[in-house]
Symmetry: C2
Amino acid sequence: MEYRRVKDQENYDDLSQKDVESLSGRSLSSANTTASGLSSAGGAKGKSSWKLKSVVTLALTLLTSSQAILIVWSKRAGKYEYSVTTANFFGHGTRHGVTDDNRLTTSFDEVSVYPIPAVLYMVKNLLQYYIFAYVDAPAYQILKNLNIISTGILYRIILKKKLSEIQWAAFVLLCAGCTTAQLNPSSDHVLQTPIQGWMMAIVMALLSGFAGVYTEAIIKKRPSRNINVQNFWLYIFGVIFNLVAICVQDYDAVMNKGFFHGYSFITVLMILNHALSGIAVSMVMKYADNIVKVYSTSVAMLLTAVVSVFLFSFHLSLAFFLGSTVVSVSVYLHSVGKLQPQK
Amino acid sequence: MEYRRVKDQENYDDLSQKDVESLSGRSLSSANTTASGLSSAGGAKGKSSWKLKSVVTLALTLLTSSQAILIVWSKRAGKYEYSVTTANFFGHGTRHGVTDDNRLTTSFDEVSVYPIPAVLYMVKNLLQYYIFAYVDAPAYQILKNLNIISTGILYRIILKKKLSEIQWAAFVLLCAGCTTAQLNPSSDHVLQTPIQGWMMAIVMALLSGFAGVYTEAIIKKRPSRNINVQNFWLYIFGVIFNLVAICVQDYDAVMNKGFFHGYSFITVLMILNHALSGIAVSMVMKYADNIVKVYSTSVAMLLTAVVSVFLFSFHLSLAFFLGSTVVSVSVYLHSVGKLQPQK
């Protein structure tokens, strides 16, 4: 039992400290030291990993929240003729010199798994066009919260990680709270969704949940791998599939008006934000997990609404207050309901 | 510590077994047996008290739920000219022969506290007429959920009983869930409630919470007292104050048409139900507490809506499903979040 706890602690520290592969011999030998010595060392390491986890989670929350605000802002600001290059997307280079772990070149074995999340997201995005034959926009907004449930279930099944009973209860509350916060007078349409709509919504939720969980598995499989390199490989396939999608859907518009037609300063901010959010998502996946990511994006949704009150004199509904209360309690329960280390 | 636990156990068992005074000698003497013997005996007794607690709670839930259904039913059924007497209200006499504890005669000291809840409820009911100057009916429905919070706070302050952190979280969820389940397109009016409306709603919630907590205190102060006698004294003052209210408000109607004008079979059922609910409330107060009562009536509210789907082809909203989910999780958390006995 004690041994197991030590091992878990090690795995965790592996994730939070780069390049630990070579040190695994050291960790194994340290398993012979006294339990008290270990737990105090674990405590110090746990604290620094907790800090990193908090920082990346906060970054993701703020970026996701400002993303939605930028979208509204760009819609309201009208169009500027402004051209940008995509050069700055990759402005987050390596800082530690070239080592085995931050070198871009890699084996086919490692890279072969990276396209999978991109394919899953692409299929999901394609389905999105068909689901509107069965559900309207407000209902779709509501159905998207099924993602929360699917992520929780797939996280449990695929990554085989456990949540405590209270954390499961908190996760159900998160889903109910987010949905409540988004309620509006036309939300009840969702109850008239035909069976095909439900099936597609569930498939989309599973695809999106599976993509998230799979990404976490890829990133965590090689904890010592530089996160920027992992991100590069994840994104390069995303970019390829998106280009294909653009060619299929917007070929005419792009050919006639140019790729960067209608870009404004806000558009640039949006793209920059999108790129940074992508990095933040990967870091949350590396140093925390999909559950934390779901909490982060849910809280971001509430933050967006609150900020919109000041920026766009948005009106908050009673349902929003109730949903926010439920989400807040859910966050609290998730943190107090942590599984106790087995005795 | 151990002594105190034993004492609590005794009090509790007194509550769960009728007329236990004659046995109190036995319980006191048993306090001398070993701690392990006590705790196993406590376990068996705890189980029987748990059973009683469940039965009275279930009864209250079903009675409260059917009460609301009867109200709708009686409105829809139209009026029958049917006269009833109130004789059957008190058809729940004592069954165990006259002892000190089920004898109706009592000291002034004991009876003097019984009018207090009745006065509190009367003041609250009077305020109800004035609050409609500031809030409309759907908003009032929403504001009534403040009762849940006020009951929790007063239960903590006045009865000095503790809830665990998770149970407090569950209680906040209960309030949010009940309110969510009652949301309708005009619920947002509540956000425009003027400060006077809020103040009155808060005062009403405090009055009602205080009345509930005070009733529990009265009933539990004399755990050996027969519950029917306690009920009699609680109700007699309720009846007196109600008669005064009827005289003030409906004097003309009662004088012209007679006290029982417009009574139908359903009205009789309603009155019977009301009387039985009153008994169930007192029993829940005696064998459980105000928190259980609040959970019971909240679940009853949801049950009523579900039954109404079949009886009156009532349509359930998405908000109802979300609120019910939150309430269900809250009930679950309340039961798993019990305070562990101090070590």
